[in-house]
Amino acid sequence: MKGTNLGEFEELVLLTIASLASEAYSVAICDELEKYTGRTAKLGVVHAVLNRLEEKGLAKSRLGEASSTRGGKRKRFYEVSHTGKVALTRSKEVRENIWRNIPGFNLEGSI
């Protein structure tokens, strides 16, 4: 199983969940993602990824309280699980390791 390996989009979603803290439910995650990345995040895609993250055990979810908004339907709030946190830190470490080894001049000027 590819289990602990994070896809790029999966990582973004997981990070967003973490950044939203206790308000991380699908619509809010979409909005945040749009804000961060500048590209539109479709609910369909995000929903599928959330579902997959949960299956992999990287995120946990629980249903919130019912309210009169959303047609009376409850929200499903996500939070990053322990394995999720480990995976995020790992991938960050991997990246930083690589960044550290890039010679300074190589990326300068290309931006």
């Binding site: 439910y25 369909g44 929903h47 249903l63 929200k75």
Partner: protein, 871 residues
């Protein structure tokens, strides 16, 4: 916000249906949130569309719910419980069960009849071994200036050509219809009809031989093959093989006996004569073998198994092209058509055996469908209306753990059980209906046997299941949606009257259909009577038409003239106004056109009281072929513009018919030569006193008509001992000519009767239910001082409005249906009588009022104290 609109309900339902329960709630919420956003930014319409698209987009493997086999298993376990509760509720609500079962049974019996008819029609010719490999050779006949004609018959030459030059077919057979004669065996004479068939006939078709050699039976000229029945008639129990049979002066020999034909065979015969016979009888120069002699010969081919049809088709096309090249002004081409389905195959001229327009089966199925639908409406209506009584049961089932699908299954099963019960009753009704239907018209009993087979029984059961499912679907859906908690808390919470709109609509549809049918029956019946009573332009009363059957007219006429009741006798080639035609080309100057002809003697016109506008009756009594007089109708003058259409001046003008110049000696008033379905066309009378295939028209002056017929019969016996007399009253013949309409009126009338019965049952059920549920309300009103009349009005009002709405739809619909569609085909129809339309409606309304009235009056007269004390 909510007032601004909701997402499309169906999309939400769809989502709820497919989505995994674990994912459903928040996904629904998410979509709703997006929907609300979209409403704000993009408007309601776009938002709804986007919502629907999103719902469909979410249909992915991970969102779809798994099929729960356990659920199905539960159904199986619960069947016993379902049966028990169903039985209890059936027994508890006797009235409603009865209404449902009777309605379904009556309507399904019509459905069974239609199924039997359609299976019969489709079972035609199924007994042939190579049934799906037998093809008919059909002919397309094109005359220069006429639309092409499709014929089931073809030429002898086509058969011979296929036999000789086309490689594909395994067997080819040629046969010819139209033999009739008197067979003499010893001293006995038997009138027989037969077909000429070649030696392959019995190999292509499966008519099993009982006696004789199949390989050679029809090879030699003057050979006969008899059906079992004919053989027994002619020879009794003796062995007929090798026995001689005389026709006129020719001797034939019996060489085979085949088993009696199954009823559902499109080819029917009493006897086969070898095709070699007719070939041997041809004189040197006849058109028997001409390519365009396509009128009474039939060619069938048997293809080998797993063979291609295309090469044969193209070979036929090639032959057609070659042969037609030699013809002037016309083209005759042949092609193949499967033998199966020839009964429902649509219109081909010269068809062998019966042909039914596919439209008829559609109309029959349509009628059955409407009736069954009506009964299903009853079931739906009553079940939903009475849901209150069973909602607790459903509530408890749900609380114990039944899923929606379980409740759905339970109620569907219940309705199927009821439909099965109804099937038992409807089967009895069907047996009765079948007898009546076959007796309706001789054509029908000739065409159909309606025997039961394993297949039809299976269809019957399938129909019952289908009806059960259709009738039970809506109630089952309704019950499965019941919210258990609400019901258990307070049953009256159930939104019982939420579906009142639907129920009202169903009642209106039922009544509209019933009213339409009853009005159609009445109008149709009066139109049919109108056709019979129509003034044809001549008299038909008390005239007996006697087929000469080859006898000498003067001999018979002399015998008949001695009977005192016989007033006058005339002779004619054919009987007009019955739908048969005899035509030729009339030439006047340079103009020529088709004209219909009847050959009559000098007594014909006075006897039938035809009105002469100018000139006189026939005076001369010329020999055959030397006639010189003609009497024409007004249309001839109009069509050919003879003497500026002035009857007086047209006398003495000469017209040419069949190369014979004839002088117009009389002009008669237009009359109906054809049936009333066609317009009056140019018609002429020619003189001929001797037509052995014609008729004697005998006018009788007697009060004892059957007695007179008997004396005529005795006189006939003196002249002709072989043939039974074929005599019919003119008026009866006219009735027969329109018998199809009488059958139609009877069928529609019957359907109308059923439709009204079923609709009335349904209405009755609804009224009983409404008054029952409103009993308390009525009592309170009464205690507070309402009058009985006022209460009856209160209860009736709703139903009355429904009835009036359906009348308002049905009456104009019927009127336009007849005025614009049906009666367009009858140029001489009578105007539709509004009174007839209204009469039917009034009768139905009256019945309905009676029903509503009786129930509501009963309810209004109730002692309020009795009703109210129970609470």
């Amino acid at each position: 916000m909510k007032a601004n609109g909701q997402p499309p309900r169906w999309a939400t339902r769809f989502l709820q249906w497919y989505c995994r329960p674990r994912l459903l709630e928040d996904l629904e919420g998410d979509l709703f949130e997006y929907f609300e956003r979209n409403v704000k930014h993009k408007g309601l319409r776009r938002a709804r569309i986007i919502y629907a698209i999103d719902v469909i987009k979410f249909l992915r493997p991970y969102t779809i719910r798994k099929i729960e086999f356990f659920n199905l298993f539960v159904h199986w376990i619960m069947i016993g419980s379902y049966l028990k509760t169903s039985r209890r509720s059936l027994v508890r609500n006797k009235l409603f069960s009865l209404i449902n079962i009777i309605g379904l049974a009556v309507s399904m019996s019509v459905g069974l009849l239609v199924i039997a008819v359609i299976t019969d029609l489709n079972a035609y010719d199924d007994f042939h071994q190579g049934r799906d490999r037998i093809y008919r050779v059909i002919t397309t006949f094109r005359n220069a200036d006429q639309p092409p004609m499709e014929l089931a018959s073809t030429s002898v030459k086509a058969g011979k050509k296929i036999l000789e030059t086309v490689a594909g077919p395994q067997k080819v057979t040629i046969f010819r219809q139209g033999f009739s004669g008197d067979a003499r065996v010893g001293n006995a004479t038997f009138p027989l009809e037969a077909i000429w068939a070649d030696n392959s006939f019995l190999k292509v078709f499966t008519f099993p031989m009982l006696k004789g050699d199949i390989a050679t039976a029809l090879e030699e000229p003057y050979s006969l093959v008899l059906s079992e029945k004919t053989a027994r008639k002619m020879f009794g129990e003796a062995d007929p093989i090798g026995k001689p049979v005389m026709f006129d002066t020719t001797s034939y020999m019996v060489r085979g006996v085949v088993k009696d034909l199954p009823k559902l065979s499109h080819i029917r015969f009493e006897m086969l004569i070898s095709f070699a016979t007719i070939e041997a009888q041809q004189e040197e120069k006849t058109n028997f073998y001409n390519w365009d002699n396509v009128w009474s010969n039939y060619v069938y081919v048997l293809m080998p198994e797993h063979s291609e049809l295309a090469p044969v088709e193209s070979a036929l096309a090639k032959i057609s092209k070659q042969e037609s090249a030699a013809l002037k002004d016309k083209a005759v081409s042949i092609s193949l058509k499967p033998m199966l389905g020839s009964v429902l195959g649509g219109k081909l001229s010269n068809n062998v055996g019966p042909a039914i327009s596919p439209l008829v089966t559609w109309v029959l199925s349509g009628l059955a469908f409407v009736i069954i639908l009506s009964a299903c409406f009853n079931y739906t209506n009553l079940s939903v209306a009475r849901s209150l009584r069973r909602s607790r049961e459903v509530g408890i089932r749900k609380i114990i753990g039944a899923r929606k699908s379980h409740v759905l299954g339970q109620f569907m099963a219940e309705s199927v059980i009821i439909a099965m019960l109804a099937l038992v009753f409807s089967f009895g009704l069907f047996l009765f209906l079948k007898k009546e239907f076959l007796a309706l018209d001789p054509h029908i009993s000739d065409l159909l046997s309606l025997d039961l087979s394993f297949k039809t029984i299976l269809y019957f059961i399938a129909l019952a299941c289908l009806v059960g499912l259709a009738a039970g679907f809506l109630p089952a859906l309704f019950f499965s949606r019941i919210n258990a908690l609400l019901v258990m808390k307070d049953a009256s919470n159930l939104k019982l009257f939420r579906r009142v709109g639907m129920r009202k609509a169903l009642i209106v549809i039922q009544y509209t259909l019933s009213l339409f049918f009853i009005a159609a029956t009445l109008v149709g019946y009066s139109q049919y009577k109108g056709l019979l009573r129509f003034d044809l332009g001549f008299e038909t009363e008390n005239i007996v038409n006697i087929r000469l059957q080859g006898n000498k007219p003067e001999v018979l006429a002399k015998e008949f003239a001695e009977i005192p009741a016989v007033k006058e006798i005339s002779r004619s080639l054919m009987i007009t106004s019955l739908g048969s035609y005899h035509g030729s080309t009339l030439k006047y100057g340079l103009d020529s056109n088709n004209v219909w002809i009847n050959l009559v003697d000098e007594h014909y016109l006075p006897l039938h009281n035809h009105k002469l506008l100018a000139g006189t009756n026939f005076k001369l009594k010329p020999e055959k072929g030397k006639e010189s007089e003609a009497i024409v109708n007004e249309q001839v003058l109009k069509r050919f513009n003879i003497a500026k259409r002035n009857p007086e001046k047209a006398l003495g003008k000469v017209i040419t018919v069949d190369g014979q110049p004839l002088t117009i000696v009389g002009v008669i008033k237009d009359f109906h030569y054809g049936t009333l379905e066609s317009k009056i066309e140019p018609v002429m009378f020619r003189y001929s006193a001797n037509e052995p295939s014609g008729f004697l028209n005998v006018k009788i002056a007697s009060n004892d008509l059957p007695g007179t017929l008997e004396t005529l019969e005795t006189a006939w016996r003196k002249v002709d001992k072989v043939h039974p007399m074929k005599a019919k009253f003119y008026d009866d013949q006219i009735e027969e000519a329109y018998s199809q309409f009488s059958v139609m009126v009877k069928v529609i009338g019957f359907v109308a009767f059923l439709a009204i019965c079923i609709a009335s049952l349904g209405l009755f059920g609804m009224v009983v239910f409404t008054t029952e549920t409103k009993l308390k309300e009525i009592s309170i009103r009464k205690v507070l001082g309402a009058s009985e009349g006022g209460l009856v009005y209160l209860l009736c009002e709703g139903f009355l409005i429904l009835l009036i709405i359906s009348a308002l739809i049905a009456i104009p619909a019927t009127y336009f249906f007849f005025d614009k569609i049906v009666l367009e085909n009858f140029p001489y129809h009578q105007p539709i009588d509004m009174l007839e339309l209204l009469a039917g409606v009034l009768v139905v309304m009256f019945l309905a009022f009676l029903m509503i009235g009786s129930q509501t009056v009963k309810a209004a007269r109730n002692n309020p104290a009795k009703v109210l004390k129970s609470e």
